[in-house]
Structures are given as C-alpha cells and as structure tokens.
C-alpha cells in the first residue's frame, strides 16, 4: 500500500505529525509496533511547560506548541467521534519552589533570565506562594509562579490527535514493527517492511521515541537516541489539596543533566481523578523496567519536603516510562543527513507531549517545502552536537 507519508510511531509526536501532514493534504499511514500511546506517551504526566526552559530554540518550540495546544480543543470539537476521551487540557500554572537556602538565588536568577526571554515568570514571597498552595511547606526559601504552564492527559491527547488525523484521511496500523528499509541497501528510502507487510511512501517520518535509535538502524540511518527512564508515583485518591503543578527547583537541573546515574526532583500535581502524581526521576539504564525502590524512596522524600502532608499519603501505583534522550537535550526535527526520504521527529525526552504540536508543524513545513515558522537549524539531525555523540 502506498501513501505520501508514513509516520513510524503512534505516540503524541507521531500522532501530531500525522494530523499535520494529513491536514496539508498528504495521504498518511501511521505504523506502530504496538498500539497508540503504548510507549512513552502512556507513561508520563502530560506536562506542557515553559517553566523548565531557558532562552533558546527549545523555548521557542515550547511557546509555539503551547499556543497550538491552547487552540486544539476548539479545532477538535467538530472532528472527533464521541468515544474519544477529552484532552483534559488545563492551563493550571506552575509553581517552582526552592526548599534550601542554597537553592533560592539560582531559582530567582533563572526566572529573571526567563522573563528576559518572554516567559511570564513571577517571583512570589513565601506568603504569596502559600496563598496559591496553602499546604506548601512554609519554610520555602524562594518561589516563582508560571501562569503559562499547562497540562493534558497524554493518552487522550494522543488518541484525539490520531482520530483527528484519521478524520483527515490518515490510516493507523497497529502491531506493525519495522524490520527493514524498502528497498534494502539504497540511498533513497521508499518505504518500510514491517511485521504486517510492506508499506511504501515518498516520505518516512521516524517518531518512535526511545525506540527511534533501533528503528533508524533498521533503516540504514544512525541516530543517537537512548532511553532514559523516569518514574512517577500515583497516590490513592484524596481530597483536592494541590492546585497547580508544583516543582522543586532541582527539577531543572535534573532535566538538563547528562548524568546516567539516578536523579530525582519533585514534580507534584493533582489529577481530575483525585489522585496525586509525584515525579520524577531520570536514569539511564537501557530498557530495564524493573521497579527501582531507590528512585521511589527518593521521590517520596523530596515530595514530602515540598508538601509535608504527603507523609500520610499512600502510593498506589508507579509508572515507569522510557524517554527518548539525546545528548544535546534538543529534539531532532528534519531530514536525515544520510538517507534521503527519511525524516526525524523524536528525541524530546520528557517534553514530547508539550513540544508535539510545534514539532509537527515544523516537520510539516519542512516536508511540504513551506517556509517554517521556527528556525529549523537548531533541530536539524545533521547538527554538529549530535555528530560527536
């Protein structure tokens, strides 16, 4: 079967790319080795954040994505069948706090730089922070509020984007794991061989998250994407006592870190279901998904420092997801430098939901030859910071 474009990966990024390409008039087939949102997109919090970013290409991509997320529900209202669950888009705002004396000044400096870059970052006194979050540890040493931080339910968002893509003519095939390039051993990729047969296309977009490195290798390309594991704890249901996304200022340092060893920091928020999600950790250990109690314990300890009442809360479930890590902490969006016909839209690490819509828009512009809204060079798969990796 032939399409204008194949998207490999039915996670949030692949779904957004499929929708954008189908919207531009291309026939699109989405292939996934498993099902929709079965990987990274089904194992995270659905963060749409600006608070953890500094001036630079990722911030531009995040801001453009947030703008698009803000309008998405209205666009989808007319398109989607009733069985598609709601996006649960909420612009609830983020509150970043420091809990140590050493952490206060770096947080306030970081916020000042963000303000200069156009982020709405508002320093608060401890009393103001407690107005926003009455159960916060009163001993916070600094606090900054980010009204633009938002969230979606990531599985629902992925399913909605895919359903919208299908409404625009795209097709989804699950259980189709990519085995090889079509034709084998050629500079120009014209399709893929999968466990469910051959699919040909003019463009093949690789959006397989942490598995992108493996799939790229199948297709004769090289992409240094590695899995980085993150763990999120889910509490039993409790009365609503946390009203924003609340982070420990350590979070930014953990995101920016290259270290393979375990790093944890607090990311705490309530869900519509009444549970509280408490993240998060980052650790490189391949695709090992065994429960790591050291991470669980550290996350719990740090969260209790931010919200002391959590000491009495119970963890009911843990998520352990793999995020697509690239050594220079930027996603790859654009053509593969070696294999013509292959495009990349991956490597967003823990920010894939937040960056999905901007990524899809940029990819669509590049594939269809439109003038991109964003400067694509920083995301180019050919960039020098990846070549060394």
């Amino acid at each position: 079967m032939h399409s204008d474009a194949i998207v490999i990966g039915a996670g949030a990024v692949g779904a957004a790319c499929a929708r954008a390409l189908a919207g531009a008039g291309l026939t699109v087939t989405v292939l996934d080795a498993s099902g929709a949102a079965a990987g990274t997109s089904g194992q995270g919090e659905g963060n749409l954040l600006v608070s953890d970013k500094l001036r630079g290409p990722e911030l531009s991509l995040a801001m453009r994505s947030l703008e698009l997320w803000d309008g998405l529900q209205r666009e989808l209202d007319d398109e989607l069948p009733p069985g598609i669950p709601p996006l649960e888009y909420e612009r609830k705002g983020g509150l970043v706090v420091a809990t140590t004396d050493d952490g206060a000044a770096p947080l306030l400096d970081f916020a000042a730089q963000q303000r200069a870059a156009g982020i709405d970052a508002r320093p608060l006194t401890a009393a103001e922070a407690l107005d926003l979050e009455p159960d916060l540890n009163p001993a916070v040493t600094a606090a900054v509020f980010y009204p633009e931080d938002a969230q979606v339910q990531p599985v629902n968002a992925t399913e909605a984007l895919l359903a919208s893509a299908r409404a625009r003519g795209a097709r989804t095939v699950f259980g189709a794991r990519v085995i090889a390039a079509l034709p084998a051993a050629s500079d120009r990729l014209t399709g893929v061989r999968t466990t469910r047969g051959d699919f040909t296309a003019d463009h093949v977009i690789l959006a397989a998250g942490p598995w992108s490195g493996e799939v790229a290798a199948c297709l004769g390309a090289s992409l240094p994407v590695r899995p980085r594991r993150g763990v999120v704890l889910v509490t039993t249901r409790m009365p609503h006592r946390i009203f924003h996304k609340v982070y420990d200022a350590d979070y930014v340092a953990a995101v920016e870190s290259d270290a393979a060893s375990l790093q944890t920091s607090s990311v705490i928020e309530s869900t519509a279901g009444g549970t509280v999600l408490v993240g998060s950790s980052r650790q490189q250990r391949g695709f090992d998904d065994a429960l790591d109690l050291t991470a669980v314990r550290e996350i719990a300890e740090k969260a209790t420092r931010v919200f002391p009442f959590l000491a009495g809360a119970s963890v009911m479930r843990v998520y352990g997801g793999f995020r697509p890590f690239l050594p220079d902490h930027l996603p790859v969006i654009g053509p593969d430098p070696a294999v013509a016909g292959l495009w990349h839209a991956t490597g967003h690490e823990g920010a894939g939901i937040g960056l999905a819509l901007g990524t899809a828009e940029l990819l669509r512009d590049l594939v269809t030859g439109r003038a991109p809204q964003l400067e694509p060079g920083a995301f180019a798969p050919s960039r020098g910071t990846l070549a060394a990796a």
Binding site: G35, T158, R166, G175, T195, G273, R297, G312, M316
Partner: protein, 516 residues
C-alpha cells in the same frame, strides 16, 4: 542453612512451609491476614471458638496439623498481618528476589517496614473471587460467592433471608451449603454452563477425575447430602440482571446457550434479598510478575503473555475509516481468564530460586494446593529430589492438573456472557466506567494497548487497581479490537499494595539492604 520465604499462608503456603521445615530450612511465612489459613481455611477469631468448627471446613485436620507444625517449629517465623508491597528481582540472579513488606494494621500509621532476602521463595498468594458484571451487580445485596461463604462461616451470618446463588463452577455448591447452614433459604443455584458442556468437560478429564474419588465424593456430598430436595439446581442458566432501588429485590434468570449467551424468551424473575455470584477465581499474580516469573495463558504452555508482532499474512488491508480493525485471521487473543504463573513439574517458575504453588498456578482446589505447596517447599529448601515422596507428589499433581483442565473445560468462562450487559452496566466499579463508554472508546480509538486503554477509560485505576474489573476489561478489549499488542497484563502491579510516603522514607538505604 537454606532460608526459605513463603508468601501466603493458605493450604499451599502452609504445606510449603511445613515441607521446607522438614527439609531442614529456616522458614519465614508471611500472610497479609491476621491469622493463617488463607481464604480456604477462614476460621473463627480465637475468642469465639465453635464446637462445630471441624464440620464446617474441608480438611480441618489438615489445617490444624499443618498450622501447629509450622507455628511451633523452632526454625519457623510466622508473620501475620504482613503485606508484601514490592518484590525486587535479584540483579545478579544468584539469589531469590527481595521482598519488601509492612507489618501491622493497613489503616494504622505505624506499620513496621521490613525487607527479606531469602535463598529461595515460594509464592502461594492464592486467588480471589471472579465475578462477571451484569446489570445491577453493583446494588447492595449482591455478594461474591466467597464473601457470602466467609460471612456464613466466620460470623454465622447469612447475607440474606432468600438468596440466589449463581455463576459457574463447583464452588457454587459449598456457597449454597454454607448459606443453608447459616439459616438462609437458597432460592436456586444456577450454573452457567449447560449440562452438555459440563458432561463433555468433565469427561475430557475423566481419567484424572476418576483417579480422585475423594474430590468427586466431596462434590457429590454437597449435592446429595445438603442440597438435594432443599435447593433447586439448574445448569445452563444464569443471573443476567439484579433489580431493586436501594438493594436487591429480585433477579432475572435466563437460560444460557453453550457460549453463555442468554436465550431470548427464557427470562424469569425471582424474588430474593441477596445474590451470591462466583464465576471462578482470579489468581493473585502481582508478586510473581514483579519477581519476573513467566506466565502461562494455557494449561499446557509456558507462554509469556503478549504478542511480538503478527504474521504478515494476517494483514489484508484497512477499512474505510482508516482504523485497522480486528482481523479474523489474527491469532486468538490470549486467554485472560486462564492466565497463571507458569511452573514446571517441580513447581519451579521461570525465575531461579522462585517456586509457585496453589491457585496462582491453576485453579484445582485445596487438595492440589496442599500437594503443590509440599513439593515446592521441599525443593525450595534443598530437599532431596530423589525422595520417594517427591515422585509420588509429582504424580498426584499431574492428576490435579488434569482435574484443573476438566474444571476449566466444564465451567470456564465463555465469550457470550457480554450479551447480558447493557450500555449502562458498570464495568469498573471503582471508577464508575460503563460498558457503553468502554465500547465507545474501543470503537473510536481501535486501541490495542491495555496501558493506554486504562488511562483513556480509567478502567482499573481506582483503589482495587483492576483486581475486580481487570480481566473483564481485557477480554472485552480483545474481543472488540483484537489481542492487546503492548504486552501489558492488567495483573502487573509493581506496587502490590499501597505504601505510605512516611513508610517509604523509613526503608533501609540500598547500601544497608544488600548486605549478604
């Protein structure tokens, strides 16, 4: 000295502990309940002894002998009220997995958090009641068979004055008998499988069943001795709805075909004030899964659940909506109703030094659990595999596996049951998910991922973590959209029981934990 940990103190766990002690091991027996005995030997609190206790329980002598032998043994430590909440596989494979457990009242604030790193582990975590949903099953007055029996046995309380017993399997009979003994009227016992299925199913295991006169005698004893003449028993019928405003006032019973599809025109309404329903048992697999044990979804195969891609021949195009629908040529969905821990003839799981026994390895009753536990405990403790009792135990267990197969063939859940659901029927009680909503989401998304489906519908995300609805949701999803492709089974719960943040903070640090 070999240190053996046994999780679960029902028939299998007690037998395992006893055999491991006999083989010379140091044994720690953990159970979440306040006393040993498990679901099967649920007995009165010590302050209320009953003279007739022995008559109310199968094999009461087995229990008293085993529990005394274990409790009084100098090399045994029995810890009741011990909730194993996590299992960590051994990173190097040279030891058994580490157990994390909390001791004390689950609602109390000062549980003691402890760690156990045994040389060998026996998982005997048992099973809980399996109840298929039907309209009105969430009304007060609808009980699981196990709950009705437990109240009758331990509190001498019948769940109602006039009770309907329904579902599938021989367990319906002791439930009815215990209700009678607690003073209730049993308005009828309705077995879903029709007589033809029962006959064929039991005949399929004729050799193994005939070899167990005790087992057959036990079943026949219920029918003849206690129920005959007092309770109407009907095969090929089931409760397809319960009615009432604040609680059950009546049920609709219909004849069911061989696939358990209600036969139109056969419905009749029976007045009652309680219903006891059991369609079988769900093994408690989470600790075995956390330990890394392979699962079997058939009685004969060591077959880890989940599919790795599909045969290309099964792909023959897409439908006009662009959704790749269930293809009839696809391999059959894994059978969530018969998913157990895979074990070999010695009760060894796929993980070195980890054994499993009892209902987690297949539903074959307490006698089978006793034999399996005994074999597992003996071998886990390093007992002589050439011991003549080992060979005898293996032979007995092989016959019990035949019995389990026959039980499944006769009473196993058939796919037509979903026909008695309405759009409004609650499927997941914790999250109040209806059958209509679930099928709408399956239809609109074509979902093939159990993980994504749970998050999109909230099925199994509530306090019971899918223990009640999980397999129902899996089988509905597989029937509608094809077998799940993400390899996720709903029984996977790395946190096996809720654990407080304050308790996590008291966990020993890793450098303290992995001392030899």
């Amino acid at each position: 000295m070999t240190r053996v940990a046994v999780v679960g103190a029902g028939p299998a766990g007690l037998a395992a502990a006893s055999a491991a002690l006999r083989a010379g091991a140091e044994v720690t027996l953990l159970d979440a309940a306040a006393a040993t005995g498990g679901q099967y030997w649920r007995h009165l609190p010590p302050s209320r002894p009953a003279a007739r206790e022995a008559r109310l329980h199968q094999g009461w002598r087995d229990f008293t002998m085993l529990s005394r032998a274990v409790a009084r043994h100098p090399r045994a430590t029995v810890i009741a009220g011990a909730q194993v909440w996590a299992v960590e596989p051994c990173a190097f494979g040279d030891r058994a997995p580490t157990l994390q457990y909390a001791v004390g009242d689950a609602d109390g604030s000062d549980r003691d958090v402890r760690t156990l790193s045994p040389d060998a582990l026996v998982l005997a975590t048992g099973a809980h009641d399996l109840t298929l949903p039907f309209p009105g099953w969430d009304l007060p007055g609808v009980f699981t068979g196990g709950a009705a029996q437990a109240l009758a046995k331990s509190e001498r309380v019948a769940v109602g004055e006039r009770v309907v017993v329904a579902g599938a399997g021989p367990f319906l009979l002791p439930v009815a008998a215990s209700l009678l003994s607690a003073g209730a009227e049993v308005a009828g016992v309705f077995e879903a499988s029709p007589a033809g299925t029962l006959a064929a199913g039991w005949a399929s295991g004729a050799a193994s069943v005939a070899a167990m006169p005790h087992k057959l005698g036990e079943l026949a004893g219920y029918v003849v001795g206690q129920l005959r003449g007092r309770v109407p028993y009907r095969a090929g019928a089931g409760v397809i709805a319960a009615h009432g405003i604040d609680r059950v006032e009546a049920v609709t019973v219909a004849a069911l075909d061989a696939d358990w599809r209600p036969i139109p025109g056969t419905e009749r309404v029976i007045a009652c004030d309680a219903v006891a329903v059991s369609h079988g048992f769900t093994p408690r697999l989470e600790l075995a899964i956390a330990a890394g044990c392979a699962l079997a979804d058939d009685f004969d195969k060591l077959n880890p659940a989940g599919l790795d891609g599909l045969d290309p021949a099964h792909f023959d195009g897409l439908n006009p909506a662009g959704l790749d629908r269930l293809n009839p040529a696809e391999p059959a969905a894994p059978r969530p109703w018969s998913r157990f821990v895979a074990v070999d003839d010695d009760q060894r799981t796929s993980v070195p030094r980890v054994f499993a026994a009892g209902e987690v390895t297949g539903i074959a009753g307490a006698d089978a659990a006793l034999r399996e536990g005994g074999l597992a405990g003996w071998l886990a403790a390093g007992g002589d595999p050439g011991d003549r009792r080992v060979a005898a135990a293996r032979r007995r267990i092989a016959r019990y596996r035949g019995f389990a197969r026959a039980l499944d063939a006769a009473h196993g859940i058939r796919p037509g049951w979903t026909d008695w659901l309405t759009r409004e029927t609650t499927v997941c009680r914790c999250e109040e998910l209806s059958y209509g909503r679930l099928t709408d989401v399956l239809e609109a998304t074509g979902s093939r991922s159990i993980r994504a489906l749970k998050l999109a519908t909230r099925a199994g995300l509530g306090p019971c973590q899918g223990r009640i609805c999980g397999r129902t949701v899996e089988s509905i999803a597989a029937a509608r959209n094809g077998a799940p492709l993400d390899g996720v089974v709903i029984d996977r719960r790395p946190i096996a029981a809720p654990i407080r943040f304050s308790e996590l903070a008291r966990l020993p640090h890793p450098e303290e934990r992995h001392e030899p």
